[in-house]
């Protein structure tokens, strides 16, 4: 089973709140989209902080 971060681009407000709380510096706000640029540890802190609920840690078989 793997764990990963899913970004819902339709919900995302491109605000960068998640970038500032990420302990791994994995996320980046590029112009007008959010991108997972480096390795994510699926800690879920960004998903908590998101004002719009655009981020989700998902577990896949």
């Amino acid at each position: 089973m793997s764990t990963m971060l899913r970004i819902n681009r339709d919900k995302c407000g491109y605000c960068g709140t998640c970038v500032a709380v990420c302990p791994e510096d994995a996320l980046e706000l590029i112009d007008a989209y959010l991108s997972l640029e480096r390795e994510c540890i699926a800690c879920g802190i960004c998903a908590r902080a998101c004002p719009l609920g655009a981020l989700e840690v998902v577990h896949e078989e």
Binding site: I30, D31, P51, L52
Partner: protein, 398 residues
């Protein structure tokens, strides 16, 4: 693209613009890079600023002022309203800006002073040599390039990645990140001369909800809640939607934005070899109000003044740049940040019953002075039974 400057500024917000303008006026070659395709947009701000603070940096201009504010009202969970009126003696409250125009004006002024401005260009890494920052690797409209500079100013806002890549830890703890959402609502009934702050754990846990007028029937209606209180079904947007449905059911949303406001203490050190950190990236937002525009301009200008001296002597080491860090900490702004951090840490501990008690105690007074310290002194005076509890506040003033 020119690839060598005295100063490179990462980010074209108020901090970066003031820094670039100040450094260019001092005769330095300066370049601002902005990752967005346009300066000033999208806005991530409630747009309130103190009049006196603003005037230290720019002459107020109706082109970028949406509303002039005469009073602030604090609304307690039980509806008790504490109104703070503008002093007749000239003690002024503030403005609600139009940041799209305001930010452009600041960058225009920097450009007019001689700074280069390059948009849709983002830093991807610092150029590091012997542990010192010597410029930035950038992607300019998709094309990689290197811009070298004697000193780099990180003005990249909440994300604050540039300083992080250069070795400073800019990560904001979840509990100290205000998770914010805002609608620009029109066709609503408001007091166009008042900034309203709604408090309460059901309204905005560990934060507040604001109504900042942008005209007669238009306002920024937004909210910030602590990151640790944010979860599915109870996010900033959920609280905001509930408030709007109840209070402004006929309002029309013409803009919807989100944002993160760091309300932690400032970075432990805002300089490194070849690097200065300014504005929101330095975490110099007022932790009590979440206001960051004035402090961004203050740190931007101060950093550029210090940097100008360092550039002319050819020494942009951490030690040489350190007077910037020392000076802002010793300034009025530095003292206010520390005081308001303590005040904020106290207020977030209050339950709704205590918030109501405190609001009721000062509901009918008229404060002579419009300030945080005047408000706190009054609270302490009027709540002798809470003396022990209010000690934290008293200590914050000392």
């Amino acid at each position: 693209m020119k690839n060598n400057y005295d100063m490179l500024v990462i980010g074209g917000g108020p901090a970066g613009a003031l820094a670039a303008k100040t450094a260019a006026e001092a005769g330095n070659s300066v370049c601002i890079i902005e990752k967005r395709p346009a300066i000033g947009t999208p806005v991530r701000c409630a747009e309130g600023v103190g009049k006196e603070l603003l005037k230290q940096f720019i002459k107020p201009d109706p082109r970028w002022i949406s509303a002039e504010i005469e009073r602030a009202r604090l609304i307690a969970p039980n509806g008790t309203t504490v109104s703070l009126e503008q002093d007749k003696a000239g003690n002024e409250v503030g403005y609600v800006l139009d940041r799209k125009i305001f930010d452009r004006e600041l960058v225009w002024q920097a450009a007019e002073a001689g700074a280069d401005v390059i948009v849709k260009t983002r830093a991807t890494a610092p150029i590091m040599e012997n542990g010192a920052v010597r410029g930035a690797k950038v992607l300019s409209v998709g094309t990689p390039a290197e811009i070298r500079a004697d000193v780099v100013l990180a003005a990249d806002g909440t994300e604050a990645q540039f300083a992080r890549w250069a070795g400073l830890d800019t990560t904001v703890p979840l509990r100290e990140m205000m998770s914010c959402a805002q609608y620009l609502l029109t066709d609503i009934d408001i007091d166009a001369g008042s900034t309203d702050f709604y408090l309460g754990n059901d309204i905005a846990p560990e934060g507040y909800l604001w109504v900042f007028p942008k005209g007669e029937r238009t306002a920024n209606v937004g909210i910030g809640i602590s990151g640790r209180k944010s979860r599915d079904g109870a996010r900033a947007k959920d609280y905001l939607d509930r408030f709007v449905a109840k209070n402004f059911p006929g309002g029309k949303t013409i803009e919807c934005i989100a944002g993160g406001v760091p309300v932690c203490r400032p970075l432990p050190c805002t300089v490194a070899d070849g690097l200065m950190v300014i504005g929101d990236a330095a975490r110099v937002v007022d932790p009590l109000t979440g206001g960051g525009i004035g402090n961004a301009m203050f740190t931007g200008r101060l950093a550029a003044r210090v940097a100008s001296g360092c550039i002319s002597t050819g020494n942009c080491s951490k030690e040489a740049l350190m007077p910037y860090d020392t000076e802002w900490r010793a300034s009025r702004m530095g003292a206010f940040l520390e005081r308001n951090y303590k005040v904020k840490e106290y207020f977030i501990t209050l339950d709704d019953a205590k918030l109501n008690t405190l609001a009721d105690s000062i509901a009918n007074i008229s404060l002579k002075e419009f300030s945080v310290s005047a408000l706190i002194r009054e609270l302490i005076k009027r709540n002798p039974k809470m003396l022990f509890e209010l000690k934290a506040l008293k200590d914050a003033l000392a």
